[in-house]
């Protein structure tokens, strides 16, 4: 019904900022990280996922979307030859997240399989300065009167309030800080996939859930403003379009509508390439579209890598 992000913003008491935070943008623009040489490798990675991987003519989305993600993560991981602290990361697949909170006397809960989670031993430093956090006090959350903000949410009788990312991992896990969540929309049929707006809303809700669970594990269950904000990143893709998100949890006091809000930076609808043609398209004996990847945008991968390196560089 709604642009989903606006609803998610109200539910998680978040202020939206367009574009990536300056810390991440700084990594993108920094030439010292050698992002130019990686362009060739990324093109190969995209061609491999979209064109070369299968013995049939063209791979399906269920195959190429996870494969493209694996290839990109492999390229990012190989950077740990340059930055040894990158090896302090671990990917976890199929983790279940559960977090509960109250918003204006409505009990909300996020549950489910949250895609692929990358954990690290060290937390990401906060992205927004103290002034920006205080400035969110002035920000007024958009309300949707007369539509209730919990529209389209499933109402469920919850008997046990489950609350940890410890639900996913036991105590003593060395890689205890959630770093980035990855969402792959890889269903073949278009109606089974999330539209970009809904994908962004899903990313926001799960990032919030992970951050909240971590904050409660670190600082206890009482709602309060956090001294050390918890930052969780999120990347969603359907094999071609990428959505980047950085979420900073500033407060666990979510019952009231005023006070300090959480912050989220969203960079949406970044295309990695325009078109991947497996077989050249020929109209009237003339090749109109040659085979291969066309319209490659290296900036999208730079942002992907920057989000990956964020926190260690």
């Amino acid at each position: 019904v709604f642009p989903g992000v606006r609803q998610a913003q109200w539910l998680t008491k978040t202020k939206l900022v367009e574009g990536l935070p300056p810390a991440v943008q700084g990594i993108v623009d920094n030439p010292a990280h050698g992002l130019q040489e990686l362009e060739e490798r990324v093109k190969h990675a995209v061609s491999h996922a979209r064109l070369w991987d299968t013995a049939e003519v063209a791979p399906r989305r269920e195959q190429y979307c996870p494969l493209l993600f694996e290839n990109l993560i492999h390229i990012c991981r190989l950077m740990s030859g340059k930055y040894p602290s990158l090896s302090k990361r671990m990917l976890a697949r199929n983790c279940r997240i559960a977090a509960t909170w109250e918003r204006e006397s409505i009990l909300l809960q996020v549950r489910g399989l949250s895609g692929i989670l990358m954990n690290s031993m060290t937390p990401i430093p906060p992205v927004a300065s103290k002034e920006e956090i205080l400035a969110t006090k002035e920000h007024v959350l958009e309300t949707f009167y007369p539509i209730a903000p919990t529209i389209d949410l499933q109402e469920v009788n919850v008997y046990k309030e489950l609350n940890d990312t410890g639900q996913c991992f036991r105590d003593g896990y060395p890689y205890s800080h959630p770093h980035t969540l990855f969402f792959l929309e890889s269903a073949n049929v278009r109606t089974n996939r999330f539209r970009p707006e809904q994908l962004r809303a899903k990313m926001l809700m799960f990032a919030f859930g992970n951050a909240l669970a971590k904050a409660k594990a670190l600082h206890g269950n009482d709602p309060k403003v956090l001294e050390q904000p918890v930052v969780v990143q999120s990347i969603g893709t359907d094999g071609q379009l990428f959505q980047f998100m950085v979420f900073q949890l500033n407060t666990t006091d979510l019952v009231s509508n005023d006070g300090i809000k959480n912050l989220v930076w969203i960079d949406s609808d970044q295309n990695l390439y325009e078109r991947a043609q497996c077989v050249p398209e020929v109209k009237k004996r003339v090749v109109t579209k040659p085979a291969g990847i066309s319209g490659f945008q290296p900036d999208t991968f730079k942002k992907f890598l920057a989000l990956y390196l964020h926190g260690t560089v």
Partner: protein, 454 residues
């Protein structure tokens, strides 16, 4: 026909005085009549060999590798499907005879310079560098640091390999998959997908990433998850038993369709281990038909595939990782009192998968059974069931295995393989007990393998 007409004119008794005088100019260079060759369509052995020759010429003359592969596998007939992971008894002997492979136990001896020196915990960098060349000769030997559990980075010694860090990476991967992450119960008979599978993926990806600084080949590599590897070949001859083609002599066709758990492909070839024509042993000769193994025939597409198409720049193979399924677990063999077959499972998997992969790589470069390889193709594989690891290195020296080409072919393919050894004893309460550094070192050595120029 021209021949008959000439014979009619030259009947005995009728002299045909030639107009040429002695010392005449030599006959013209181009023949007057077309060459006398066998027919193409007749039902005779000569015609069959002519058809084969025409086919070989067509494949030789193909413009691109894709065209060659298409022509090579164009004709579909019933063929034996060879499964690399099989419970058949003594399958590795049969597979060696199908692929003309010699099995050499142990790992190939490598030059001492190629082995990375390993830092023992607490030892000074100079001392460890002095120990390392001495230990580098015997394959599979590692300095086991005493009871070190806390990782201590080697102080300032860049070329030294930090075994503690790698051990902690491996233990972290193992603990995450088996202990820390809360997972649901494993699906019935799918224990391998629950813990050992993800553990292997994590282990290889993190090890490859941390070793990529040392091995520039790894930095340019491509990691495939669950790829497909196929190869189709002919070996030997048999007489067709029944059907409309009964009585004809046909080559015996084989097809391997393999799904390794993980594989690493690189843009440059691994160096050869021994020169091309070396003879390191004997290929077993089996007098029975392949169907006695048991192997079964099926007719379907003849695929040759290394994991990605010909256009991929990473067209050479580096290392494959195979996970043995639940059906072939050790306890099952022990329960049926077939302990000696446990190693056979690892060996047959290594030989068959690596033969298929290296041969498919060779075909991607344009070689085939009539155009034999001019340089050896080398690849490595690790076969594991999650706890026990066996290492294999394969060198493909020849593709010529068909009945005609194998007659004068002295070359044999070589496979080096180890027995399976456990990586750890047991995981208890967040600790890995009995971690075996040797196995980890062998894995690291495999990953660090690279051409000499790099």
């Amino acid at each position: 026909m021209a021949a008959l007409g000439a014979r009619r004119l030259l009947r005995p008794g009728r002299r045909w005085f030639s107009e040429t005088v002695p010392g005449a100019p030599p006959p013209p260079a181009s023949p007057l009549y077309p060459p006398v060759v066998a027919s193409i369509t007749a039902k005779s052995k000569a015609a069959k060999s002519r058809r084969l020759q025409r086919f070989n010429q067509r494949v030789h003359a193909a413009a691109t590798v894709e065209e060659k592969l298409r022509l090579y596998g164009k004709l579909q007939r019933p063929k034996y499907t060879v499964y690399p992971q099989t419970f058949a008894l003594n399958a590795d002997r049969w597979y060696r005879s199908f692929t003309k492979t010699v099995l050499v136990p142990g790992m190939p001896p490598r030059a001492a310079a190629a082995k990375p020196p390993v830092a023992a915990a607490g030892a000074t960098p100079e001392a460890s560098r002095a120990e390392a060349p001495g230990a580098a000769d015997a394959p599979g030997v590692a300095e086991a640091p005493g009871a070190a559990t806390a990782p201590e980075p080697a102080a300032g010694a860049a070329p030294c390999l930090n075994i503690d860090e790698l051990r902690s990476l491996a233990c972290d991967a193992l603990l995450q998959e088996s202990f820390y992450q809360n997972k649901k119960r494993p699906f019935l008979y799918r224990d391998q997908d629950h813990t050992p599978g993800p553990f292997l993926t994590q282990l290889v990806s993190t090890l490859a990433a941390s070793l990529s600084g040392r091995n520039p080949l790894l930095a340019a590599s491509s990691l495939d998850l669950n790829p497909e590897v196929n190869y189709y070949w002919h070996h030997g001859e048999e007489v067709v038993a029944h059907g409309h083609r009964k009585g004809r002599v046909d080559p015996v066709r084989f097809q391997i369709d393999d799904n390794p758990h993980l594989q690493i492909r690189v843009p440059k070839q691994l160096p050869e281990v021994v020169p091309l024509g070396s003879d390191l042993g004997d290929v077993p000769v089996i007098d029975h038909k392949p169907s006695k193994l048991p192997l079964f025939k099926k007719q379907y597409e003849n695929k040759v595939f290394i994991g990605s198409k010909v256009a991929d720049p990473c067209c050479y193979g580096h290392t494959q990782f195979h996970l043995l399924p639940d059906k072939l677990k050790r306890e099952r063999f022990i329960r049926e009192r077939l302990e000696d077959q446990i190693e056979v499972v690892y060996r047959s998997n290594g030989i068959a998968s690596l033969f298929a992969w290296t041969a498919a790589q060779a075909m991607y470069q344009g070689f085939w059974s009539e155009a034999d390889v001019t340089r050896p193709f080398v690849s490595q594989a690790v076969v594991t069931d999650g706890k026990y690891f066996a290492f294999f290195c394969y060198q493909l020296n020849t593709l010529a295995l068909t009945a005609e080409t194998i007659k004068n072919n002295p070359r044999k393919n070589i496979c080096w393989g180890t027995d399976s050894k456990p990586l750890y004893d047991v995981v208890e309460d967040g600790n890995v007990k009995g971690f075996n550094d040797e196995v980890l070192l062998q894995l690291v050595r495999f990953l660090l393998n690279r051409p000499k120029e790099l």
